[in-house]
Symmetry: C2
Subunit: 489 residues, 2 copies
């Protein structure tokens, strides 16, 4: 009979029976207790360890169930006689000791080497983190009431998850909204719910882009698009963005055979330009001829500060090339994780096939709540209020930048959205300013980080959505300090 | 001055101003109204169309904003003089008329050709749809209360979405649960929230599997795993499953250089077998030597009807090869769309890099609610109740099958989970029975559909989770009719 020399720790988080289980198992696996050996009785073990006998029995039962021990007679428990595992375990331990890790894919190695955007200084929103809406103005109590009602009324169909394309009522609400507000031509059958823009891009690229195939992306452009093409193992072709948006002519010259173009025609990120009608038509004509897909990322289309928002490129698409991508991260809040794509009719079958046997990647109950929020008019009301708020915040940021950083920063016209880009004096590195600002607790993004290849831009990208007008100056003063510190070097 | 010959429809869903916008835009794009032509005044148009003048002005403003029209004098609006788009538009229309669709990736073509599981007969759960828990016993009112509370208290950090790996409290709750209940050894930093099992598999495969690289999958096995390998462009190597689980020896012989093995060791789907200790150790030893990854899909581990659940394979992993994948789809409800993966320490960096600049793909508020549900003990209580319920339902299904289909169906021992597989008389095709059952409103899955290559199995897979014991016979009687109908052919 072996003495097991176990130790248990009463104050540990791991329950006692699990500690006993682990202790005996590890001694068997390490070969320290030989095959066939009889264990002390549960009563003896309980006394030895100072624990209840039931605790010991719980551990022994588990070890029997897993094949480490065998129960012979009433109170006799032995190590399994034929346990061909100790040797294997020793081999694993030897490999583990070498510290070698599992091999990664080429994509994983690229992702590890890809720059990320501005580092987040803590979880709570702060000046001037891009992409964060005015959470202080979100009608959280109203949303909570509607969510509570939806949860309370949820039937089996909602709990079950429903259609892999998304919850029916929600798709209908989205189709109605984007038709009326964005001039998107679609039925609810064309709407596929996603967990946001990035997953939507990944889903689309999987179905359109073969590894090594070319994809036009905007330069400078949204880092998430670049990342999505990389993840899809595609060949990203960065196309210059000028005052009219993506230079379609350059795309046609450099990669006429591209399979996809990823654009934000309503409000390009980070430059904020709108694609001209001529460029829109040229893009659609190329896509139709090349049988390529155009992805229209309409991420903050709703917030135009002057005039009315332009209608979506999708509304001009006669050939069924455009996939429209929208998100509620900016219009509601990012933690919601609900977005959508609108597929052209010819692609409905393949999007459905890709999700067959699956689920829409968003909470069915939250989809239902959001459908109600839209249908009851709260969404439209909220958008109207946000337009006013962002106009105000945009003006406040412009004034604050003028006061504190007037000499070195030249803001581009910010007539839409919740971001503003400013050109920085070429003598001052935007990445150095970003780092110096971060040291002072201010987040800004560096424009140069969004550029690829020969494209060189030096500037800062400000998110003003989550910053109250009265707090702008606090941020821009710290930023001015950061810029001064970089200049002194 | 052109007459526009527009028509608007007062009863249509599309707002009147949008109809006018579309009408004028399309006539310009089609070249039916020439560049530079002056339009009738808004007053004239309003009278012609029988609408308010403000409606016309809304449409004209939008057309000016988009570049179709230009405003000259006070009341004079013309078609833009240099509109190089009519020709492009005509070209697009010509292509569109040929009905050619965008080119798809090889993966998309494969997905279109991949069989899906049993077709869903409507949205509501029904006998015997696999994978659906006992929604009738889910404490929906309690969950609604907790969700309401969480929504009502949500602060900016939750609305903002927080850590791309997932909400901190939730990751801590998951780590504590899987440590205690499943013997998984992890800290909360190793937990990454996913939108369910399928997205978790896709995320893992992207980081581990290069296109064309080999992946062991179980044969027969879960269709979602096969689909995930296909989507990752990997080479699926189907490995036979016997009474001890996946035949590791066969894997080593056929694809020693595989980069990943995807297994469900606790409760294999669809056979329901548990992987033996010897096989577990052999699998881990191979993975450590090959620097491969083992994905442990622990999808319905919590529901063992007899004895205690075996601990997770992950708990035996000394070399850091195992990625544990769990879901709340079976323990809570599928519409929740919350799952998780537990990455080994050596892979934390790459999983974080893959999500950099992104968001955890699940509602932050629902994560918070689920964390509270777990921490307050409701989850453990619910699991205990479900264990009793599934034991009852499993027994009821066995009895019902014995009564109605005893001669032709031989159930495998169903000692875990919410599914049961029964071998079918080889003379009767399982797919024919599935189709005949579907005609009678009963869903079953065909075992043969889960097999690849030379593997031939004939049987039916029943989900009994969502079927009340009293309703089993209604289902099995219809199934018996279906089987009889197939036999008569």
């Amino acid at each position: 009979m072996a003495s097991l020399l176990l130790h248990v720790d009463d104050g540990a988080e791991v329950p006692l029976h699990r500690q006993i289980f682990d202790g005996i198992r590890n001694r068997i696996l390490a070969g320290e207790v030989a095959a066939g050996v009889r264990l002390p009785s549960s009563r003896q073990l309980a006394i030895e360890l100072g624990v209840a006998r039931s605790t010991v029995l719980q551990a022994l039962d588990a070890l029997i169930a897993e094949g480490f021990l065998v129960s012979r007679a009433a109170s006799s428990v032995c190590v399994a006689p034929e346990l061909p595992v100790a040797r294997e375990f020793a081999a694993v331990r030897r490999v583990a000791a070498t510290g070698r890790m599992p091999r990664l894919s080429a994509v994983a190695r690229l992702l590890l080497a890809t720059p990320t955007g501005a580092p987040r200084l803590g979880a709570a929103p702060r000046a001037f983190r891009p992409g964060i809406p005015a959470l202080d103005l979100f009608p959280a109590a109203l949303w909570a009431r509607i969510a509570a009602r939806t949860h309370a009324r949820a039937g089996f169909a909602l709990l079950e998850g429903g259609d892999p394309a998304g919850h029916r009522d929600f798709r209908a609400a989205v189709a109605a909204h984007v038709s009326a507000a964005r001039g998107v031509r679609c039925t609810s059958e064309q709407v596929f719910v996603t967990a946001g823009t990035q997953p939507a891009l990944e889903e689309i690229l999987r179905l359109v882009l073969d590894p090594g195939a070319a994809a036009w992306i905007e330069n400078p452009g949204y880092l998430g698009t670049r990342r999505a093409v990389l993840t899809a193992r595609g060949r990203a072709i960065p196309i210059r963005v000028d005052a009219e948006g993506l230079d379609v002519g350059e795309g046609v010259r450099r990669a006429p055979d591209a399979r996809i173009a990823l654009v934000a025609p309503s409000h390009q990120y980070p430059l904020g330009v709108t694609m001209s009608l001529a460029r829109r038509m040229a893009l659609l004509a190329w896509a139709a001829r090349a049988r390529a897909v155009v992805v229209e990322d309409d991420y903050d289309c709703e917030f135009r500060h002057r005039g009315r928002p332009l209608t979506a490129l999708q509304g001009l698409d006669e050939a069924g090339c455009v996939i429209y991508v929208g998100t509620f991260s900016k219009t509601m809040f990012p933690g919601l994780r609900i977005g959508f794509l609108v597929a052209p009719p010819a692609l409905l079958k393949v999007f459905a096939a890709a999700r067959a046997d699956g689920f829409a990647p968003a909470s069915a109950l939250e989809q239902e709540a959001l459908a109600a929020f839209i249908e009851e008019g709260h969404f439209a009301t909220h958008l109207r209020r946000m337009r006013v708020a962002y106009r105000e915040r945009s003006a406040a940021l412009l004034a604050a930048l003028q006061s504190d950083c007037g000499g070195v920063l030249t803001p581009r016209s910010g007539d839409a959205g919740m971001q503003l880009t400013a050109e920085l004096d070429p003598a001052i590195s935007d990445r150095a300013v970003r780092a110096a600002a971060a040291q002072r607790g201010v987040e800004v993004a560096a424009l140069s980080e969004y550029c690829l290849g020969a494209e060189r831009r030096n500037g800062l990208v400000f998110g003003f959505g989550c910053v109250r007008p009265a707090e702008m100056r606090a941020g821009t003063r710290l930023l001015a300090e950061a810029i001064a510190a970089v200049r002194r070097r």
